[in-house]
Homo-oligomer: 115 residues x 2
DNA sequence: GCATAATACAAGTTGACACACAGTACCTAG
DNA sequence: CTAGGTACTGTGTGTCAACTTGTATTATGC
């Protein structure tokens, strides 16, 4: 009964998904993965090794900025790299949402039953 | 102001799209491309070189069957290979539609704005 | 016969994602 | 104090579907 969304199907949408997750709240890589997983309710099957490269690409493209958060508060684990949207990233998110809508309309129009 | 849907974004959905197009009416490769293009209203940018391999895959997987239609009616062009859905293909189309719905729900839930 | 249109197919390239690790830091249990 | 678990960040190699471009076949019209 587990329906997994195939990796190929998120191709080209992952970047917008990551930007979306970061819109409401900045966070670090590991947390982003968990938030995406939670949002997908188990049907997304994202690994860190998939998401980190996306983050680098987005940072390179100046859509995200990152700062290191040292571990001085006694929590577990090493330091984290906290990502947040830049102005450019926010603009790109807008564009990505429009692309998403167009995509859903077109593909949905075909797949959803067309005379 | 032409908005093109990026190739990567249809990845993993093209097969279901092709099956959908063939559900209403059997047709041959070149026509399938044109019907997809028409359905996408110019925003899909599919080439024959993209669609034919999909058809081979689907035929290999017994989701489509093909028959040659010789050119004896005086129309232009060489003979055509006419594809139609098999029973298995129809079943797969159902599954593909469900996948599509799940995909739209999950990704739409993330991209479309999430608290 | 040459251009053009309709149709099928082939070959090589790309690039985002998958997979499977490797490395670092801290905490707790025994 | 050390073993194991958990929280993180990385990396390197492969895959495979989609892209690009080009070619082959048949018929019509000039």
């Amino acid at each position: 009964m587990n329906m997994f969304i195939k990796g190929n199907q998120v191709r080209g949408h992952l970047e917008t998904m990551v930007l979306s997750v970061l819109e409401s709240e900045e966070s670090h890589g590991f947390d982003i993965v968990k938030r995406l997983e939670a949002a997908g309710d188990g049907s997304l099957n994202l690994k860190e090794g998939t998401v980190y490269p996306v983050l680098y690409r987005l940072e390179d493209a100046k859509l995200l900025k990152a700062k290191w958060e040292e571990n001085d508060s006694g929590r577990k684990g090493p330091r984290r790299k906290v990502y947040s949207l830049t102005a450019k990233g926010r603009k790109q998110l807008e564009a990505g949402r429009n692309e998403w809508k167009a995509f859903v309309n077109v593909v949905g129009g075909i797949v959803g039953g067309l005379s």
